[in-house]
């Protein structure tokens, strides 16, 4: 098997960069770790989880998807060609890798999003199995696990008590990356370290059932009471994918931006008439939970929550989808037992 000394990740990055990859990896920036473009000298953080996710590099916060030039009174449309920069995303968590499946599905279910796909095809995802986790991690509760290889082109497994990394290509893209890595990797044998213990916090099936029948439950008010309605959770979420279109122009041309947007903000569903079908923060928070755990499964048979826990780590007001699910699950159990008697 292909091995890499754990402290040689930077050399892997350098080797790949030399082969024309743009390298994206978790890098410390002040008090936070972000997935960012790697440059020689930057150290790659393998512990913990970055505040942002792979999403940033497949579905950027803002991109120009259309362009018109103005000629006197009339518009002339300019082609905007999708650009995919050959990119290797190193040492992302398995939950991140998994999230790519959700994005693939969403950006290709009714029409194929050329801009997304161009980036996706040019992107090789190298995941790093988790040997540790924090109290916010709950992938095991939503069908994932710390050793999952879902959505990854290459998986790195810590071995020899973190001394080594086992590099296992899983897809053609992955093998190409391994090729490019060349001499940085060595052939050898090593036993993968055990992955992190992440207790299952709730029964997803039970939660789904409850959600399906409790759109109007008064409990939502309580669940959402602390929410102040920002987009921190959605923008950190690896699978949230809502966007808004905005045209901006100067006297020469007009460009159409596709910008991230989120159901957490009041403006998201506001009608021109002034009517807002989701007029309260309760309704918006409910939409977020329902979309991930009820609507997406119904439509695509996919759970749109990876259990990465970013939202609960970042929420300024301590909301957590996991906590909500636990509460729901407890209700169900209680009901269940009540039913038995």
């Amino acid at each position: 098997m292909k091995l890499l000394r754990a402290d040689k990740l930077a050399e892997l990055a350098a080797a790949l960069a030399a082969q024309g990859y743009r390298i994206v990896a978790p890098i410390r920036q002040g008090r936070i770790v972000r997935l960012a473009e790697w440059h020689p000298g930057a150290t790659i953080e393998t512990s913990g989880i970055s505040t942002n996710s792979v999403k940033d590099f497949l579905f950027p916060r803002s991109e120009i998807i259309d362009r018109y030039s103005l000629n006197g009174g009339d518009f002339v449309q300019q082609e905007v060609a999708p650009v995919g920069i050959k990119t290797a995303v190193l040492a992302v968590r398995p939950c991140d890798a998994e999230s790519v499946n959700v994005l693939d599905t969403v950006f290709n279910w009714d029409s194929n999003d050329a801009f997304y796909n161009a980036r996706r095809e040019a992107c090789t995802v190298v995941s790093l199995a988790c040997v540790s986790a924090d109290q916010h991690c709950f992938c095991t509760s939503v069908g994932g696990n710390p050793g999952s290889t879902e959505g990854a082109d290459v998986v790195l497994r810590p071995a020899g008590g973190g001394e080594q990394l086992i590099l296992e290509p899983l897809t053609p893209k992955g093998r190409a990356l391994a090729e490019a890595a060349g001499g940085v990797l060595s052939e050898g044998e090593a036993a993968a370290d055990p992955v992190a213990e992440i207790p299952r916090r709730f029964d997803l099936k039970a939660v789904r059932e409850w959600l399906a029948g409790n759109f109007d439950s008064p409990l939502w008010q309580e669940f959402a009471s602390a929410c102040l309605g920002c987009g921190a959770c959605a923008y950190a979420c690896p699978s949230c994918h809502c966007f808004d279109m905005q045209d901006e122009s100067n006297r020469k041309e007009s460009v159409r931006y596709r910008n991230w947007d989120t159901c957490g903000l009041a403006l998201f569903t506001l009608h021109t008439s002034g009517h807002n079908p989701r007029s309260t923060q309760m309704a918006r928070w409910r939409q977020r939970v329902m979309h991930k755990l009820s609507y997406m499964p119904q439509r695509f048979n996919l759970t749109a929550c990876m259990g990465c826990g970013r939202c609960s780590r970042l929420c300024p007001n301590g909301l957590a989808i996991s906590e909500t699910c636990e509460k729901i699950a407890r209700l169900c159990e209680a009901k269940h037992e009540g039913g038995k008697r």
Partner: protein, 670 residues
């Protein structure tokens, strides 16, 4: 989609000389939304306006931009033209390519580029202009006239004659102002008081005129048609309702040694006094600074002798509010203080006097009953030197402008002196003689040729008193090119005419502009000489610039005509440049309410059907809003906007100036 027309004026050669108007018209034709673009020699001319009217109709224009002179010049002209063609006048804007471009640049290419930018800016604005309806506000048909000199009196009488109410406010105890102090007037030498006094009395007795003497304007609120003027009526300590003006009081008053303001300090008056025998109202007031009762608390003689018990030592200032539709400023002038001229004795030589002092000496009602006596010893001066331009046309120490009336009154003084002191010698130092006006130059010639005044062209360099009491006047005769020295008994300085010291305070209360010299600014130097930039405030007399009596009177009548014109309709049409609150988005932080200079914004409760208050928001009172837009800038949620200068308009104006070649292209993605 907007259909904008662009009309570029050559202004003869004024614009076309520097700006390539044809190129500008061609460029404008390419602007998005422009369907018609043309240049023409004189847009403001009849055919020019015809062209605009026709284009509006033919091309179904939704907006028009006239690139020409400053909007201050012709915006109304062109908006009227637009209205005549059935377009809402507020859909027409002007691009100022003359004052702001053609006249200030010489580089043709640069000027043309700038002109094109200025036009694009206004095209972008016009695209977002809305049709606005002029706002009508009720007019209070009462005029306030500030200043009771000849200009104020004339304005008040003319307005009153027009059947409207007037409140005439005079700071001093009596009407008349400076004119009441003059002996004779040029060029006819008729007695000033003989012609003025009847007007004073008429003003005081006119049923439509409320006279407020010893009164000053404290503050001014409101706006055209609806001013609220707060007047401080100063304590006079004499009840006008009881006083008959019999004179018992002032004949008995013990403090008798107060220099008379009216007589320029040449006579003494008592503490309870009338300004002059011809004072209107002919009632005394007590001068609190010098009254023993009011200063030391003992005396009270006047109160004892007054047969009507009119004296009231407890009298106090009172504030009176006056509602008025228009205001006429007639605050007049004062003389420059020649003590600034050290070389002229710094005002310390008793026999070096100003023009007013001489007027009083020459006046039959004056301290010397019309005999010319010098102040120091009462002797008849055998030689009098008159110095013109004292402080005038002297940027360093005095004022830079010409005071206009000095040439004429100095000639008059020389003449009066010759008539009163036979064999007396009158010497006049002058820089130029400016005697334009009907019968004016003839008048000066008469002083020189008939009455033998010696005119010396040149400035006086030094005036000093010799031990023997003679006053030596040194100067140069610039025509003869030699120094001159005159031994005089008295010197009369024609001090410069300056604005009143407190004029600027008043201007600020009203928001009226004043020029570098401190005179009130007219709205237009040629076409609107009696209006100020503040609607409903007009100018009369020397508060606007040095003027003689006939000029002051004619301007006063002109101001009166303006006021009567304003009052001729019960309602007044106002520019609809006012703010509006977006009640859906207003967060009611009350920042706008705090900031509004006109208290035009108030709380507004949004009620449900049952009358319960759902939300409170801000609301603009259109009648009070003057359209400054300060509220717009303090509103964080942009829930208040200003018609005519909306956020959207300004945003697009700025966008229209973005240089397109600049701004590096970068791929939008990260």
């Amino acid at each position: 989609m907007a259909r904008v027309g662009v009309f570029i004026c050559h202004c003869g050669e004024n614009i076309a000389r520097t700006v390539d108007v044809a190129a500008a018209a061609a460029a404008a034709a390419k602007f998005p939304g422009v369907v018609y673009s043309v240049d023409y020699k004189y847009m403001c001319s009849d055919p020019g306006q015809q062209l605009i009217r026709k284009a509006i109709a033919d091309h179904k224009l939704t907006g028009a931009v006239v690139a020409a002179c400053s909007p201050r010049m012709h915006e109304n002209t062109f908006r009227r033209a637009a209205a005549a063609a059935g377009m809402n006048p507020y859909l027409l804007e002007m691009a100022n390519v003359r004052e702001h471009c053609a006249w200030v640049h010489s580089d043709r290419a640069a000027a043309t580029a700038k002109a094109i930018d200025l036009i694009r800016v206004m095209v972008e604005k016009v695209k977002r202009n809305r049709s606005l309806k002029t706002i009508t506000v009720p007019v209070e048909p009462t005029a306030v006239v500030i200043g009771g000199g000849i200009a104020g009196i004339q304005a008040a009488l003319d307005i009153a004659a027009g059947g409207k109410q007037v409140v005439l406010i005079e700071k001093s105890p009596s009407l008349g102002g400076h004119m009441a102090r003059l002996s004779e007037t040029f060029p006819t030498l008729d007695c000033s008081q003989c012609i003025l006094t009847p007007r004073m009395v008429e003003a005081a007795n006119h049923p439509n005129i409320t006279l407020m003497t010893s009164s000053e304007v404290e503050s001014v609120g409101g706006f055209v048609g609806n001013f609220e003027v707060t007047v401080r009526r100063k304590a006079r300590y004499v009840d006008p309702a009881k006083c008959t003006g019999c004179g018992e009081c002032w004949s008995k008053c013990p403090s008798k040694n107060i220099p008379s303001e009216f007589d320029a300090g040449l006579s003494r008056r008592t503490a309870i006094y009338r300004a002059s025998p011809q004072a209107v109202p002919n009632q005394p007031v007590i001068d609190a600074q010098h009254c023993l009762m009011l200063t030391k608390g003992r005396c009270g003689v006047c109160a004892k002798v007054c047969p009507r018990g009119a004296i009231n030592f407890k009298d106090a200032d009172e504030l009176v509010k006056v509602k008025a539709g228009a205001i006429v400023l007639a605050t007049g002038f004062e003389l420059w203080d020649h003590s600034a001229y050290g070389e002229y004795g710094a005002g310390r030589i008793a026999d070096v006097i100003d023009g007013f002092a001489f007027e009083r000496l020459a006046s039959a009602s004056g301290p010397t009953a019309g005999e010319i006596r010098r102040p120091s010893d009462g002797a008849e001066p055998k030689t009098v030197v008159f110095v013109q331009c004292c402080g005038s046309r002297d940027e360093k120490v005095g004022v830079k402008y010409c005071s206009k009336i000095c040439c004429m009154y100095t000639a008059k003084h020389a003449m009066l002196y010759a008539h009163k002191v036979h064999g007396g010698r009158a010497v006049v130092f002058y820089m130029d003689i400016r005697s334009a006006g009907k019968g004016y130059d003839e008048f000066v010639r008469r002083a020189i040729e008939k009455d033998g005044a010696e005119y010396i062209r040149g400035r006086v360099s030094k005036i000093y008193r010799r031990a023997d009491g003679k006053i030596t006047v040194r100067g140069t005769d610039t025509l003869a090119g030699m120094p001159v020295t005159v031994e005089a008994d008295m010197v009369v300085l024609a001090d410069a005419v300056t604005p009143r010291a407190d004029a600027q305070k008043l201007a600020r209360m009203l928001g009226v502009a004043y020029d570098a010299d401190g005179f009130f600014s007219e709205a237009h130097p040629k076409l609107r000489p009696v209006e100020t930039a503040v609607a409903g405030v007009y100018l009369a007399g020397a508060c606007q610039a040095p003027k003689d009596i006939p000029e002051s009177v004619s301007q006063a009548s002109a101001a009166a005509a303006k006021v009567l014109g304003l009052f001729s309709k019960p309602k007044l049409e106002r520019e609809p440049i006012v703010s509006h609150v977006n009640r859906i988005t207003c967060a009611h932080c009350r920042a706008c309410i705090n900031a509004c200079p006109y208290k035009a914004i108030e709380d507004f409760n949004i009620l449900d059907r049952s009358g319960k208050v759902l939300r409170t928001v801000s609301n603009v009172n259109e009648g009070l809003c003057q359209g400054c837009g300060t509220c717009v800038s303090v509103c964080r949620s942009k829930s208040i906007d200003l018609d005519g200068f909306t956020d959207e308009q300004v945003y697009l104006q700025i966008a229209a100036l973005e240089p397109v070649e600049a701004g590096a292209k970068t791929e939008g993605s990260s």
